[in-house]
Subunit: 224 residues, 2 copies
């Protein structure tokens, strides 16, 4: 996807994203767009989050995949409502697809909507879905060179989750290098080091989520 | 990238791919297009191949990345000529980019040209580069659900390399499931299980490569 070629598509997407953003604001919902390579553990991260924050945060999930509803089923098994979008070949979710999927979630009963984008470290970064925050997941087995190789994606993240840190002892991966490279492409991003499988490091991620609901934002603003 | 939208781009790419294919045929060169997710180990696979087949197969590599020339440097360090294409945001290599890069390789002295595509399990599958064979690499940490989730990419592979099998003991991954799913989306693909890092299983991959040079194809045809 060459960005210049698709300017029209991007403009039309931006308008739909704006409508989504407005809808989230009206409903007092926070929306988080989660982007990564295939197999970095986005679904495992979200399923564990749903389980561990049950009773503290009411979450719904929109799942994007080329094919299969495996991920939506995993989220439902964890206890949250989930809608699967099958893109049938498209390499990213569009704001319009998210708009349609929102109608299938019980929005009035939620605090937060996660969008798990199609596994792709390139294309989703160009498509605003109307989210409030963007999270990029990087898993240890992918290698410590990824922030430099995919700077566009890492540059627009509010949060970078380094996942599968339980594999650090089996894989050559320099956390130091990754953190230094992230700070070159994105000084402002918050970085969490976690293993969504074992649960290690998840508490900081949860604290961040709980402090980024629409209600907590309003509380923070009132406290100023 | 929605395929219908980009029909013009694809048609123009197909023409350039045809020119590349013709050039490979005239030079008696075999060309292999290697596609995978980010961090599946394409470069490690190619660097080890270059080292282990030195003296038996004369290889050159075209490296595709959004940014950095890390991979071309790794291939040169392994002993083969390499050209880096930085796509500056584009999510796949085009036949035209490959055409330009070919002029920077000593084609007359080679038996085989590898193209390492941009790390992306979606978009590269739609772009013919003029290659003779397409290889998809799937690494164990990405998970055993990928052939079903990305059927378009796996369907057009001549070879599927399952890499990082040295991590099988630390990760939940069913080889049986992957092989069954691959046979659903692509009955004809040859599958190799390897660890490019430790060298396990690489011999079968090497045999396949050696039997797919243009010269060996001609020998095979003559033998019929």
């Amino acid at each position: 996807m060459k960005l210049s070629v698709n300017k029209k598509i991007l403009d039309s997407n931006d308008k739909a994203a704006q409508r989504n953003r407005q809808r989230f604001a009206e409903l007092g919902l926070a929306c988080i767009n989660v982007v990564s390579s295939p197999g970095s553990g986005k679904t495992t991260l979200l399923a564990r989050t749903v389980r561990d924050l049950a009773g503290r945060l009411r979450m719904g999930v929109i799942e994007g995949d080329i094919k299969t509803d495996t991920d939506a089923r995993a989220i439902r098994a964890a206890g949250a409502p989930a809608v699967q979008i099958e893109t049938e070949g498209a390499c990213h979710l569009s704001a319009r697809q998210v708009h349609a999927a929102l109608d299938e979630l019980p929005l009035g009963e939620l605090d937060m909507v996660f969008i798990e984008n199609v596994g792709n470290l390139v294309c989703p970064s160009a498509f605003d879905l109307g989210e409030n925050r963007r999270v990029v997941v990087l898993s240890v087995p992918e290698g410590d060179d990824k922030p430099c190789k995919y700077p566009g994606t890492f540059a627009v993240a509010d949060v970078i989750v380094i996942n599968k840190i339980d594999l650090l002892e089996y894989i050559e991966f320099s956390l130091e290098r990754v953190l230094a490279d992230i700070s070159k492409v994105n000084r402002g991003a918050k970085v969490f080091e976690v293993s969504a499988r074992t649960g290690r490091g998840m508490e900081q991620w949860y604290e961040w989520l709980l402090s980024h609901t629409a209600k907590s934002n309003i509380r923070n603003q009132n406290a100023k």
